[in-house]
Symmetry: C2
Subunit: 658 residues, 2 copies
């Protein structure tokens, strides 16, 4: 798809001798990055061709073994000894799936050896390509010198940083790690991936955990991009749109209607969740029911809504977005069953985000009933789909309803479900993570912490003991608490009112406190969520959780999971916590609302945001909030600060006292 280069300089301080350099293209690589996968098939490339390009180039073509994607690389290596070009030693080394050139330099003390390698890579999936090998060879012959490529690289990154940087004052390590996170995010999804059919994998492209699968992590990733490079978000949602036919098929196979997106998926969008996983502590393979996490369908709908709010991209919403929303709403309506005794709808036999609970302690079958997070987000999807449908231009609504064979009674049914979904409570206002949660035993957190120290993977510890977390009020990660992460108090109150359930002033803090005590943070996402929901009520605790989330990968706090792949959800989630959490940014009724509250440890914050074709600069420092739009903004925009709404004309700057 493009050229990349690397330039290295080796200087000899006081050594002399012969230095041999080998520059190779190696198609014999295996996937060996995750220890517990090593017994599985790990050779995915079949060698096809190797050869030379022009006078000084080499090339290699391999093919992925199952999907038959051809991947071609070509390389040109230049070696300079004290500025003098060194020719390669004779012809290249050609082996099946491997091609290399060697260079020899007679180095003197004080010598400098400069190695520049430029590689082009194309695949048979790339667009505007005739044949990948031809294109790779053509590209390397045309490639500029290393210095030119480097210069273009620097300019491209300068532009990314202008659009994506987060500047914080008075905290160098936080600053450093936030940039590391934004960097990794842009390594995974960027303007270069927009025209590829690429989703956003949970562990980046360089980590092998989850085998590159796409999960729900985009729920934590897209909101950052929405206000920076929304074209990337659009492409990532479109990746889901392309897989709508597969999601429709999955729903049909499971006996539902509409579209049921899979928990884990790859190229063709079918369910790829493992059915067994290895507990390294016990050495046992355990049934894995994580595919029952149907809530990913709410995450996808939520992302569509967030993207459209940030961009006002009505063309996308009316066409692709509306179709996805309607099909997901349909799925939720069809999975909900009516409980005549309660006059309530229920969702049975699913898993919530908390992966410690996949069934009732004594049940033969996996699945839990009325997971609060699932039921409430399903209601939100139904409401949102109804709203979008009602706002569609008549022409488009007509086409959509005809294409999908949707009739008025079906829409009315969605409305009914959205008013009668069941939520279970216990302990005077605690939202039960699922029906029957109150019957579980309290877990001996102190005892286990004493015995094992690190208990974030409590599931593995208990399984090795012959026990299961299914018996306990113990969560791997935020589940009920996710609701307070995704929705404002006002939005939740509206949803609860619609359902006829009480939503008290203290519902949120009470539930956070209840579940926080019962969570091991076995997912890196959990701390992001808990930090977010405590950002205003318990700033010290929030900051501490944020700092831990920030260290997830740079310090590999889970002890070994980072080499298996970065945790992109936590990386983007921490950046978004600063971007939207600390600034209080939210979009409602075409108003961009702000209500900053910085942690004590951050002296200030500066963001350059993209909001509905406006470039905004947001500066929070001490007791001031300053917001500016550019002179060339496309028109006025509405800005809300706490309770007040004002209009920002192009070029305006507004200051608010905090």
């Amino acid at each position: 798809m493009a050229e990349a280069g690397v330039g290295e300089t080796v200087a000899s301080e006081n050594w002399a001798g012969r230095l041999e350099i080998r520059s190779a293209l190696d198609g014999r690589v295996v996937n060996g990055g995750v220890e517990r996968y090593r017994q599985l098939s790990n050779k995915h490339l079949v060698p096809l061709e190797t050869g030379t390009v022009g006078e000084d180039g080499i090339w290699l073509k391999v093919q992925t073994s199952q999907s038959r994607i051809e991947i071609a690389q070509a390389a040109r290596t230049h070696v300079f000894l004290d500025g003098e070009s060194v020719a390669a030693n004779g012809g290249p080394i050609l082996e099946p799936g491997y091609v290399a050139q060697t260079f020899a330099c007679d180095v003197k003390a004080g010598s400098e050896v400069r190695i520049e390698k430029i590689v082009s890579l194309f695949t048979s999936r790339d667009r505007r390509v005739s044949e990948s090998g031809l294109q790779a060879r053509k590209s390397i012959e045309r490639a500029a010198r290393f210095d030119d490529l480097l210069q273009r690289h620097v300019v491209a990154w300068e532009h990314y940083w202008r659009r994506c940087d987060i500047e914080v004052a008075d905290d160098e390590r936080t600053q450093l790690i936030l940039r590391l996170h934004v960097f990794h995010l842009l390594q995974t999804a960027s303007l270069n991936t927009i025209d590829l059919d690429a989703g956003i994998p949970a562990r980046g492209w360089h980590g092998e955990a989850y085998r590159g699968h796409i999960l729900w992590d985009e729920l934590f990733i897209l909101p950052f991009l929405n206000l920076r490079l929304p074209d990337i978000t659009r492409a990532l949602i479109f990746y889901r749109y392309r897989r709508l036919p597969e999601a429709r098929w999955a729903a049909r196979q499971a006996g539902y209607r509409g579209a049921m997106y899979p928990w884990q998926s790859g190229s063709d969008g079918q369910e790829e969740s493992q059915r067994l996983h290895l507990n390294p502590l016990s050495g046992r393979w355990i049934p894995d029911n994580s595919h029952l996490q149907r809530h990913i369908n709410a995450a996808i709908a939520y992302n569509i809504c967030q993207y459209c709010q940030a961009t006002q991209d009505t063309e996308f919403l009316h066409f692709y977005g509306a179709e996805m929303l309607v099909e997901i709403a349909r799925f939720w309506a069809s999975i909900a069953t009516y409980n005549a005794e309660l006059d309530r709808y229920e969702i049975l036999g699913v898993m919530g985000p908390d992966e410690y609970h996949d069934r009732y302690p004594d049940a033969d079958e996996p699945g839990l009933n009325n997971n609060a997070y699932t039921n409430i987000t399903a209601v939100w999807v139904l409401c949102h789909a109804l709203e979008v449908l009602s706002r569609l231009p008549a022409e488009r609504r007509r086409s959509l309803l005809e294409n999908l064979h949707i009739e008025q009674h079906e829409i009315e049914h969605w409305d009914e479900i959205s008013r009668k979904m069941r939520i279970v409570f216990h302990d005077d206002g605690i939202i039960s993570q699922f029906e029957g949660y109150d019957q579980l035993e309290e877990f001996d957190w102190e005892g286990y912490r004493g015995k094992y120290g690190d208990i974030h993977r409590l599931d593995r510890i208990l399984e090795a003991e012959g026990d299961t977390p299914n018996r306990y009020k113990a969560s791997k990660q935020a589940d009920v608490v996710m609701l307070f992460y995704l929705f404002s108090a006002g939005e939740l109150r509206e949803l609860f009112d619609r359902l006829g359930y009480p939503f008290e002033y203290d519902t949120i803090p009470k539930n956070i406190s209840y579940y926080l005590q019962r969570t091991s943070h076995g997912s890196t996402l959990s701390r992001v969520v808990h930090s977010w929901v405590l950002a205003r009520s318990d700033r010290a605790r929030s900051w501490s959780l944020f700092r831990q989330a920030l260290e997830s990968d740079i310090a590999d706090i889970q002890g070994g999971t980072t080499p298996e792949g970065i945790h992109l959800g936590a990386m983007a989630g921490t950046a978004d916590l600063v971007q939207r959490g600390y600034t209080g940014i939210g979009v409602h009724d075409d108003v961009l609302w702000l209500n900053p509250l910085l942690p004590d440890d951050l002296g200030g914050l500066f963001l350059r945001l993209r909001f509905r074709k406006h470039w905004l600069e947001v500066r929070v420092s001490g007791d001031r909030l300053k917001v500016s739009t550019s002179e060339d903004a496309p028109g006025p925009m509405k800005l809300g600060f706490r309770e007040e709404v004002c209009t920002l004309e192009p070029g305006d700057t507004r200051e608010f006292a905090l």
Copy 2:
């Protein structure tokens, strides 16, 4: 990429006997549709695999020989004899690159045999696919029954017709052919091709002439789509954007800067114009210099501008559009040379649209100097690029200039060229098709018409006689006249004023008349252009040319070219002539201008148009023009009728007397 089906019913009136049906997937097809190509290599598929799918399916996989694209098909055939299902005879017939099933029916007099065949087709270039064979087999197993597919097909086409129909009154044949043309256009580019990397080929996908190459025909095709399904236009321009790196390389290789798009291109965007072509009359292979038609670069820029005016898609303009415009402007600035004696810039050694002229009669080298169409459209590109640059938001302008290393002096140079480009005139106000055109001999039109009858391919006739059209004032198609097709009198006056050349009241009719007498219409596009430019000044002549253009393919007026592929430019061009020509639609300064003038033979016209997110209904009947917007329009829009501008609020209808 999808499923398709065909259902046929065979009824026996009075015959009885055994009917054998063979349903095959045949990968042994050759490209044999164009007689004069048959001596060339015409087998492009390599067989890979054949097999069965489930109980009643067959499948086939082949690979294109050069580009190594894998193409997989799977099929399911159901045969019913008088409503009873007929099983296939044993296993399938398997041959390399061929797989078939046979069915035998004992037919009685009065029997009805129903054959339904459903085929799925996927390629290795398709998105959301793991492996094309797997996907084709999966897809055929999941495919609905024929009747369901048919129903979906009908709904999809109903939606297309709602968006794309042109209704004319009082002329059934014109109505029929216009719909045929719109149908073929939508067969070639549709919502289904948006997510493919597909350009729009001059002869459709089913014609083999030009070998599927992409030429400048989009100049005649996109304007129709801009006001109907602009998403398709966007995708087609994006096809060009993807090939910007190749166009940059082509410019560099030719010694120019910026991007130089090729005259004919295919998958990877490199120049694919033939260097020799066969004259079937003489049997000789003639050098072909059509790659010198650099004016395709103005066509691409013009299309970007037209698309953005119709849609106000500023995101596209600011990002992709601006980059292409600037690179094309750069090319024109670099190909222009300064003539110090005249203090004018010149473009030397190119070809205009008229393919009868590729060099001066006695010249060794091909190429003509100062082709008026090329020079004036180049000036227009420079002006438009300057304008877009000046209107870009500061952030984007900065990034673009940095990415492309554009400095102020380069921009100033474009401005200078745009004021000093040379246009050559002769005979008191005739714009010379190129410098030296006036030195050519007049052609004996009458003599040759008498001798040969059909002389639209005068080039072949003259070559067979040992002569060449380069010697004569004789054009294959519109060249200077193209200017009056693309630009309004006002726009041309502005360009001429900028260049310091006179533009008189009679410049347009004088030039049309001059060149129309000297044109053979050897391209189907020529009549579209001439009909368009005469639509107001000589309605009878215009109508006659329009009617001939309309018959191009349905009557194969060029005698044999239609079986080689439809002429998509003429098809879309005739539809656009009705859509924009007869209605006088144009967009300037955010106003949609209308000024209808129907040919006498058309009693009325009804169009449903998409303009900047508005759905408009335009009805012209007798002496009235009626324009309505929908109730749910996104806001007010400006409508211009002749000299007046009014505002249309959502739901408004305006009537004007003609």
